[in-house]
Amino acid sequence: MELKSILESLLFSAQKPMSAKELRDLLAAAAEQTPGDLTTGAFKKVKEGEIVAALEQLSREHAEANRSYRLVCVAGAWQFVTQPEYAPWLKALVGLKNRPSRLSQPALETLAIIAYRQPLTRVEMEQVRGVSVDGVMQTLTERGLVEHVGRAEVVGRPPTYGTTALFLEYFGLRSLEELPAADELRRIEVKKPVSLLTADPGLATAPPEQLQLKEEGKMQNEETEPGKAATALNN
């Protein structure tokens, strides 16, 4: 009995996406419910890391099998989903449920800024967009895509915002790291008004040379040391 097959059967039968931790707990529970059983006992103490590795292997296998479905990880939880090209038939199956309306252009722009630059204040968002974000922020908060995450350590301690787990789910992302061109966008400077200068500028400030670009809107990224981007990511 292979770990990945057990995990597959569980995800195949689960009513909701499951995290590696939840799967680990199920393996332990199965062993407890069948005392003395060597098969279940063998998976009693599998580590989360092993589970993630097995799931990734499984996910590759399913991608290679090229069937109508895949095993994916969204916001840290694994689930089987169908491939987009089968949507017309699945819509006939599920019925045209009332999905949430699509996001407006201003909402998407603001969401992009928050996603790449979080945590940040409204003033910082408005610096990038050049217009007020009040209405848009209300929409994004109401839809549960962004949330208040803290306060900036500057005069007035304005609230800062970040994206939620629902944001990842809504766009089908495993984590924030999966955002397209993440490193690049995170590093561009957000200009702050003097009164809002943070004690530690951290990520939001980039070296000026990055702004020199060659072609249309592309940045001439000098040899980015891998370590640097990784550090920035964790900020």
Partner: protein, 260 residues
Amino acid sequence: MAEYKVKFEVFEGPLDLLLYLIKKEEVDIYEVNLTQLATQFIEYIETMRLLDLEIAGEFLVMASTLMYIKSRELLPLDQQVAVEGEDEGEDPRWELIRQLVEYKKFKDAAAQLQTLEARQENIFPRLPGKLELDLKPPAPRPEVSLFDLLNAVNAILKRVGQREDARDIFEDKWTVSEKIEHLLGLLKERARLNFSELFADAVSRSEVVVTFLALLELIRLKQIVAVQPEAFGAIEIRRVEPTAGALSPARLADSTPQSN
């Protein structure tokens, strides 16, 4: 100029309009002629005014920035440097371009999010039917033993005792401390006792209660433990051996494994 009006309303803000103008000229942001851009931008604003449309404050702020840049371009080089507040070499042209580049990046990122959004609408999770295993699923079993229940009884008795005269309940010859002594004596003879046999000899209801309270007290004092080896099995009372040294070798020999 009518086309401007239609288009104008769609712009998210001044930066959006500027990007549109740059794109229209088919030039790179870095090569854009800012003076020309300023002229075009201000033309749009003027058009809006002529059409009597409301102009958002941000557009007016941008218009003044652009006019400033434009007027600055007209000055000879040596005077440009002397402009007040720019002693650090901050160039408003550069600042505007930087802002445009940054805004464009996020506009592109927003477009990618939009693609993901559309894609996600077409992805359906597997929703399996409820599993029908041939066995009946385990009924929800409370994680409690009979002892939990007895403790609850004790709690009630205590409260009742507080609001009533306890003597009414414990009127018999046994007191709790006597019963404790008795129990400890029994446990000296035997390593373990069945819970039920403790009550077998009780001659009165109150003796049962006293025995029971004595048990709870001994458990509380960690003198004895009550274990229920199987889910529905009988409860056993065992003495907690203080230390190995306190026992005679003979007792060790015939004592059964202790729960501690």
